[in-house]
Amino acid sequence: MLSPVEQFPVLVVAISMLSAFIILIAGRVNKKSCCFISIATILLQLIMAFFILNHVLTKGTIHYWLGGWKPPWGIEYLVDALNAYVLVIVLFLGLLCAIHSKSSIEHEVPGKNASFFTVYQLFITGLCGVTVTGDIFNMYVFIEILSLAAYALVASKGGIALRAGFTYLVMGSIGACFFLLGIGFLYAVTGSLNIHDLSLLLPPLYGNRVVQAAFIFFIVGLGIKMAIFPLHTWLPDAHPAAPSPISAMLSGIMIMVGFYALIRVLFTLYPFYYNYGLILLILGLLSMTVANLFAFFQKDLKRLLAYSSIVNMGIVATGAGVAAYILSTVAEPSKSPPEAASLAMAGALLHILSHGVGKALVFLGSGNIHYGIHTRELAKMGGIGRDMPFTGYSMTVGLLSLLGLPPLLGFWSKLLIIMSVALAIRSVGGVVLITTFILFLFNVVYAAAYYLRVTKVLMIESGAVRTHEAPFPMVFPVVVFALFCLIGGLFPISLIRVAVRASLIILGGG
């Protein structure tokens, strides 16, 4: 008999999907009720997610068999520290963005209340589904659910957003199809779809060319979803075009869920003999450098932030890449992974949280500014922070956290990654790690240039039209995120501890 908490993984997904349809029906009766249903559902899901995280950390992994069918025949929902950690971030951001949507949707996409929240809820369903599932085909289906919702949400403002949404749809579908093809290849050689079962069946087949081809398809397919360097072209168009709470969700967590899917698939199914550590490292460093160069010259605030998302995706990929690279250099895989590897992975995972919170904050803040003065151009925003004090100061905190200024949250994740690289240089050495160290530091400093420029425009310069603060539901999430950056940065120990636990799971030492 399963305890109630062990049933929560499936409930998190099911409730969310059910609520999407309830919202659609409720919207016919009363348009105002939609956002309250959505907020209540996500709050309930968030509470469940906290219970799941607590259960996973204290009592161990949750296995839920759908319909009672034992894996590998049935679909299994497998939740360990990593899933639960990502799930909590997804729902935390989802809740605050839903609250923000309450007011900002009437401003940005007027009259589409019911349909917006329906699709938003489906989007949350997809995000939760990808994180809790332990079945690779199920993962594909949820990735498609979340992507389809994302295409619709990106295009919801009409006008120029339509073409951005369409480009995103074409790119995203190619990515998903490649992922599907990879799954087909693995199924052809093993006859299984359960990730855990595959990890047991695959080792004798690593030399097989079909398995190698599947590896390439996974990297390209999920690389498009997570917008890593040569596959990032859809992101700078799609993310700014969406309404601000959606931009916050897309940039803050959706690409990171793509990253989660990639590390889950790669680190569980493939050994370090494929040396994808090096691939992730190179792609990560390239995305950082290239996107940084583009971000510097942007005049549109949301577009600048979209490029900065690619930079941060690069940071996360570099962290994971360093971890895999260090493991691949260890000749005999021992019981527990080397310290530097788990530190690098923990840094990457912590950066998912710190970037998610920081980026969601500034995107929501840009929504507040748009509410006030109807523009996204930086040049017209001089001194807006003085008229909108809550938004302005919160955004400053968010930008400084993204920059990595101590004692904010963003500092710790970058510190963990750079420390692990330094540790690894001492124990492993090699040109690759030294180059990583130099490029990483260069990018962190370079990124400061445009974060500080935005801060200066918002708080110090002058020239914006006089306006007043946005309504409460739009200010509240921004302030909560800013407080989270501050408090999380002052007391990071418990957050780092959870990230280390999650990193040990994925590196196979948990």
């Binding site: 619709a152 339509l162 369409f166 074409v170 998903a176 087909g184």
Partner: protein
């Protein structure tokens, strides 16, 4: 040469057909400027993958997986059909969203050629 042709191409023709279809779809998605043609390319691409899956599960002489008293022969793998049923639903939803976007773009700009849309966007000054 002849043996290679038979072994690698004729014996595995199902895979070759799906690869060729996939590339046709891929080409249409990348090279065509007409949005509807892009959508058609996407559809071909997805269908090629379905074909690949279905042909994986098929066995010559196999029958549908229903237990028959006294039948000692072979069954085809039903799981792949089930997976593809799901994937078809996903593909239909993708097509629906894509076509909805194309329709609203047509209403907005009066054309479905990508280059003309970009030109009109530029004229509008965005």
């Amino acid at each position: 040469m002849m043996e290679w042709l038979i072994e690698e191409i004729l014996a595995k023709y199902n895979y070759w057909v799906s690869i060729i279809l996939m590339l046709i779809g891929f080409y249409a998605m990348i090279a065509k400027g007409n949005l509807i043609k892009k959508v058609i390319g996407l559809s071909i691409f997805q269908t090629a993958i379905f074909l690949f899956y279905i042909s994986l599960g098929d066995i010559t002489g196999g029958t549908e997986p229903i237990v028959i008293e006294g039948y000692k022969g072979i069954y085809v793998n039903p799981l792949l059909h089930v997976l593809i049923l799901t994937a078809i639903v996903v593909a239909v939803a993708t097509l629906a969203v894509a076509l909805a976007l194309v329709i609203s773009m047509y209403e907005e700009y009066g054309t479905i050629e990508e280059e003309e849309i970009i030109e009109k966007e530029r004229e509008l000054g965005v």
